[in-house]
Structure formats: structure tokens, C-alpha cells
Point group: C2
Chain length 108, copies 2
């Protein structure tokens, strides 16, 4: 993960999954993961998930990078499949970073 | 959850838990949950977690509400216990909402 700084963009994706057959969810998630790593301005992500749903926050250099990723072809196609097959509900929040703190336990 | 609008604040908390004895984690989480619901400007939260860690995003009316919650006594005390007992690592990101979208599967 690249350092997250004020002015960077956080894209918060909160989802609830359908109980239905995942229909290629794992493969699509892996393909998305590969595609996003190549996306200009992508800094990294935090993600926690389960079969019921999850939260992924991706971090971006600027709003232009977010807009370009929105149009990227793998992402656009996967988004359609997500709405058709995988998700009951989602919330998307795009926010500009004001400040950030990272803390690590001192093992000493 | 109250509606999240542009200008509201998202506080992203990403954590990794210690493997150690949880030492009252569940009780403290319940007390925090009760305290935050009474906090002025609190709009709601999204949370996904496991024994290994999790992501919680709380949403706030404005930065003043976030600052007041930071000083709230249950929160401050619990934060100290978290660093002492429960967490190996965490990241805190405070960000101002630019836009939001909520989507629900049409069951019709």
C-alpha cells in the first residue's frame, strides 16, 4: 500500500451478497484485483469480507484516477455482473481524505 | 442509518486483532456502540469484522462531531484498552464525503 495522504480519495464499497450461487464471483474478484493494480493512481485497498458481504476501501491519488477506473472495461463489466448476480444491496461513498493515522503495536 | 450526504464525514477504522485473549472486547464493543449512538452528529456506521480484525466506518454530520466523539470518555478509555490489549495494528482515515450512492436489488 502506498502512503495515504490528505487530498487522496477513499472509495468505500459496502455490500451485501445474495444467498444465491456465487456464479464466478471468486474468479471475477481475482480479475478485478489484477486490473485495479494496473490502474493509474491506484494506491491500495483495505478489504474485509465474508459470504454475506463485505467492505472494501480503495485509495486513489485523485478524482481523475477514480473517474478513469469507473470507465475501465473489466471494472464496468464486473459491476454489471455484480448487480445481476452477486449483490442484494450496496453503498458506495467517495470521500476526500482529510487526515490519516497508522498505529502499530510496539512489540519491544 | 441517517442519510449520508456530501460534506458529511466518514471515519474509517481498519484493524488487525492480536491473537491474545480478547480481555473484555465484546463487552467494550457493546458499550462503545451504546455510547456512539448518543453522540451528537453521529449518523450511523457500516462494520464488518472477524476475530482477526475488521473495518468500521462511522459517518458524522461534521468535523466538530468527530472531534467531540474523540474526547468522549467511554471512547477515550476504550481506545487505550484497544491499544493495550486488542490491536496489533490499525489505520484511521478521516475523509469528507464527496458523493454517495445506495443501490438495492429490484426483487420485482
Amino acid at each position: 500500500m502506498d502512503a495515504i495522504e490528505p487530498g487522496h480519495i477513499a472509495v468505500i464499497f459496502v455490500s451485501r451478497r445474495t444467498g444465491a450461487d456465487a456464479e464466478g464471483y471468486a474468479e471475477a474478484a481475482a480479475a478485478m484485483d489484477e486490473a485495479v493494480r494496473a490502474a493509474p493512481g491506484y494506491l491500495g485497498h483495505d478489504s474485509v469480507g465474508s459470504d454475506d458481504g463485505g467492505i472494501t476501501i480503495s485509495y486513489w491519488r485523485d478524482m481523475e484516477s477514480v473517474a478513469a477506473w469507473r470507465e475501465e472495461i473489466t471494472h464496468a463489466a464486473t459491476r454489471e455482473r455484480g448487480r445481476a448476480h452477486w449483490y442484494d444491496w450496496y453503498r458506495l461513498v467517495v470521500a476526500t481524505v482529510d487526515r490519516t493515522r497508522e498505529w502499530t503495536q510496539d512489540k519491544g
